[in-house]
Amino acid sequence: MNADVVPGVVAVILVSVATLAIGTWGLRISRTTSDFLVASRTVRPRLNASAIGGEYLSAASFLGVAGLLLTFGAEMLWYPVGWTAGYLVLLVLVAAPLRRSGAYTLPDFAEARLGSRGVRKLCSVLVVGIGWLYLLPQFQGAGVTLRSTIGAPPWAGSLVVALVVLASVSPGGMRSITFVQAFQFWLKLTALLVPVFVLLAVWAADGAPDPTTTAASSWSTPLASGGGVGLYTTYSLIVATFLGTMGLPHVVVRFYTNPDGRAARRTTLAVLVLLGVFYVLPPLYAALGRIYAPDLIDGRSDVLVLELPSLMVGGLLGAVLTGLVTAGAFAAFLSTSSGLTIAVAGVLSQDVTGRRWGSYRLGGVASFRVAAAIAVVVPLLMSLPAQDVAVARTVGLAFAVTASTFAPLLMLGIWWRGLTPAGAVAGLLVGGLGSGAAVAWTLATSSSSGWAAALLGQPAAWSVPASLATMVVVSKLTAASVPAHAGRFMVRLHTPEAVDLQR
């Protein structure tokens, strides 16, 4: 072990210890099943917004965006823009009604709205599938980070993240993880913000060279290449990110922790502010990387954020800044993985581990802990053989799938009382199988160009309308089975809590 790895090792240990310490502190005030699953619905907007930001900014945001911008330029700005704008769409269409629905998880919402066990089961399967799909790249990214900063074998990073997540989630559940994630948002912001000031000072001292001189003109064009195909790819990405956010299980589960619908809206606005501040930073790293890290442009762009400080600033200051960004990256894996684990474990504990098995039945908290272990171990095992799948690609896939399944279900379920169970199931199947098959094909085959690759690589622009249309048409055909309580449920979703109504 040489001196180069010291900042990385110190950073990883400090972040892990802080996470466990805050999680343990949460244990002291976490007692009931309601604390575990939704923090007893007492989280105030600012704390909740920090926690959502902490949970949402994953490896893809912290490392991936700057790397993609470095290599491909302005077309990749649609990722951070879409991931932020998704919260505006969520705010205007979903936030307050979702909280007012009074459900714990997405399957709970589907069952309460449609009164159907079948829809509930399908939603549970989708939540677990999407959660595992999203956990997989987090574990892989952790492996890449530890290999880059301290030279550890790739499985070591995955294992460390999995163990810390399990240790911090299973004792305290949602209530303790709220504090952990709020802490990790501010850690991630600091870890990008402080180095950027130093790096900009170095850049100014060097006479402020122009980053665009070495770049092709496409670096300044916010469009994928290829004319019409590029236009389709860009718009499809916009659809996937703008709509996909509202269906992410680990984000949605956070809305149930708000005290009421009004607080849910304010939380979402605060999230917009926090994300807006954060996402200004990765483009600065990418622009500086064009000047100072040209070697990373092809192939190793994912480690740009981790290596830029040591490339631009030497000595002790460079080592400290490297430690800081490593800590931020590690916090990114931990917080997103924790949030996903909570969401998946919440569903598993209600529908699998909390059920009666023979004559034996686990209690609420015990079944949550068993479910958390299952939620972590499965994607960990999946990540061990496949260490070289691109992080951002898998995360993009998860957005396309949620935009094609839960987004239509939520939008129609909240705003259209004519939705029927049969319509919801048909739409979920069309959207889920369509987008899932398209992206599975893309991941299995190597990259190619042309319309077929674009349509399958970015399916959201056709799979979302297909899912919506299927839900509407099948619901119209089965109009007789509109749930009898649909009108009453609309009252619950849309009227302010302070108005005295039967809900």
């Binding site: 002291r28 007692r31 009931t32 302005a74 700005l77 649609w78 823009v81 932020t84 704008a85 919260y87 505006l88 769409v89 705010l91 205007v92 269409l93 307050a96 402020a208 122009d210 665009t212 003109s217 496409s218 300044s220 064009t221 916010p222 469009l223 004319g227 590029g230 236009l231 860009t234 718009y235 916009i238 009004r262 809206r265 304010r266 979402t268 606005l269 917009l272 502010v273 994300l275 807006g276 501040v277 996402y279 200004v280 483009p283 622009a287 705003w415 009108g487 009453r488 609309m490 009252v491 849309h494 009227t495 302010p496 302070a498 108005v499 005295d500 109504l501 039967q502």
Partner: protein, 130 residues
């Protein structure tokens, strides 16, 4: 483990709903699902949905038209504002205040809609300091 804190006790009060005594005519219409109650609910839903669609339209007509603009006028890729390429300035920085502004306007209007609804059904929403 002898120094454990005492177990938590759930303290509950009487249900708030029945405490107010007389209920307003509007809320009774909605609870009874009469034609008039239906009109109240449909007007609230329409107002809120129109508001949401207006915000989404504003988003589509600004951010949503950018790819098309850069596709139709490729020369925009070379435009610079001071030291920044136009696309980087628009998407890397200016988008975020715009999103926050849209969100803030939405919250103001949607809470006003809810106050109007409460007035309509004869109930008063508590004012909450920001």
């Amino acid at each position: 483990m002898s120094d454990q804190p005492p177990p938590r006790v759930r303290v509950t009060g009487p249900p708030r709903r029945r405490a107010s005594g007389v209920r307003s005519a509007g809320t009774r219409e909605i609870d009874a699902e009469t034609a008039l109650g239906e009109v109240f609910m449909r007007s609230l839903l329409r107002e809120q949905l129109l508001l949401a669609l207006r915000v989404l339209a504003a988003l589509a007509l600004t951010l949503g038209l950018l790819p098309l603009a850069f596709h139709l006028f490729p020369a925009l890729g070379d435009v610079r504002v001071g030291p920044f390429p136009l696309a980087w300035l628009l998407l890397g920085a200016l988008t975020y205040p715009w999103l926050v502004l849209l969100g803030w306007l939405y919250i103001r209007r949607s809470e006003a809609n809810e106050r109007d609804f409460a007035d309509l059904v004869g109930s008063v929403l508590p004012e909450e300091p920001r």
